[in-house]
């Protein structure tokens, strides 16, 4: 069942429109020591990519990249890791709820770098697709920064006349020299 307003009532209210262009704080996604070999080894083995550009210094140095690089979108994952010294979110989640799905209470949810919520009664969220644009591969030692913004919000009218929103966020990943590495655009349907 849709939570959408009646067909005559736009879901794209002035308050929702005002979110377009709103940006979150720019935050560092990497740890203080930047991109390191062991994390890179674990990641590349999990995507089954044996490319020597990720681990063979002599070979990598001779490529156009001039040294060890990471897989194209590695930088979009490193911000998900648990920071050393933080309370263990897994233990906390299952202490609070023995049937935790592993997501609900596990995320640290510090809110740093997060976008404010879109003010809409449309609560159901579906993934409408992603786009990844690559500009440069991260390198060993790089510090990675990310900044998200609401790039676009459009309204769609469904067959039953109810309204839904297509919310597109754009997250730009940069290195310590403020060079763009990768842009991730993710669209969600709110209905």
């Amino acid at each position: 069942m849709s939570n959408a307003p009646a067909s005559t009532e736009s879901a794209l209210t002035p308050a929702v429109k005002a979110m377009i262009g709103v940006a979150a704080e720019k935050v560092e996604a990497s740890f203080d020591w930047g991109i390191e070999r062991e994390g890179l080894r674990i990641f590349t083995q999990a995507i089954m990519d044996p490319d020597p550009r990720y681990w063979d210094d002599a070979f990598a140095k001779a490529t156009k990249f001039g040294g060890i690089i990471t897989p194209p979108i590695y930088c979009t994952y490193i911000g998900r890791r648990q920071r050393p010294g933080a309370d263990d979110p897994v233990t906390r989640a299952f202490k609070e709820n023995p049937n935790s799905d592993g997501i609900g209470g596990v995320r640290t949810g510090e809110g740093k770098g997060s976008l404010p919520l879109v003010p809409t009664p449309l609560k159901r969220i579906l993934n409408a697709g992603n786009e990844i644009e690559l500009r440069q591969y991260p390198k060993l030692g790089d510090r990675i920064f990310s900044q998200a913004k609401y790039a676009d919000i459009k309204e769609r009218v469904q067959k039953d006349g109810s309204r839904m929103l297509v919310v597109t966020t754009e997250t730009i990943y940069t290195n310590q020299n403020d060079e763009v590495l990768c842009i991730l655009r993710a669209s969600q349907i709110r209905r």
């Binding site: 020597p52 979108i73 049937n99 997501i103």
Partner: protein, 169 residues
């Protein structure tokens, strides 16, 4: 599956040698196992139990089995495009949607086919249909991509890559 040696010795595919309709060599992955899925969850610290806890996935969430992660698929397509472009091309962008679920036992064929060929600011662009097809012909990750391949005798593809103004978002 591609080997390290094949990637080390990868010969450049040139823009001149590819036509609309060309199908690039696929990348076959699998059969997937629960261990593959668990390894990805651990690598990115995604503790959602539907990806590694079979009892939870089936009896609590009503799923057919533990599920392959969308984030893993999202990493495989750029990896495939990277391999196509090596050593001097650029896998500029890819967009996709998540469709058929991946479960243990599935074998995945990552594929790409050229739909458009054009030149801009002296660089050779190819638009592709891409996807991750399962062994029973269901499409798990349909999408589109744009890659840049060197033109014989043409200028080098800039790195870091800067898209031509006409094509930039």
């Amino acid at each position: 599956m591609t080997t390290a040696q094949e990637l080390r010795e990868k010969k450049q595919t040139y823009w001149d040698d590819v036509s609309v309709g060309h199908q690039f060599a696929p990348l076959i992955i699998g059969p997937m196992t629960p261990t593959h899925l668990f390894r990805w969850s651990a690598a990115i610290e995604n503790w959602h139990r539907i990806h590694y806890d079979q009892s939870f996935a089936i009896y609590h969430e009503g799923l057919p089995n533990i599920l392959g992660q969308g984030s893993w698929k999202q990493s495989i397509l750029p990896r495939y495009l990277k391999d196509l472009c090596l050593p001097d091309g650029w896998p500029w962008k890819v967009s996709f949607q998540h469709r058929a679920m991946i479960v243990p036992g599935d074998t995945i064929t990552v594929w790409g086919a050229v739909t458009k060929k054009y030149e801009e600011e002296g660089l050779g662009f190819l638009d592709l249909d891409v996807g991750m097809r399962l062994q029973y012909d269901a499409e798990s990750c349909p999408g589109r991509a744009t890659i840049v391949l060197p033109i014989r005798g043409g200028k080098p593809i800039p790195y870091p890559f800067v898209p031509p103004k006409k094509l930039a978002n």
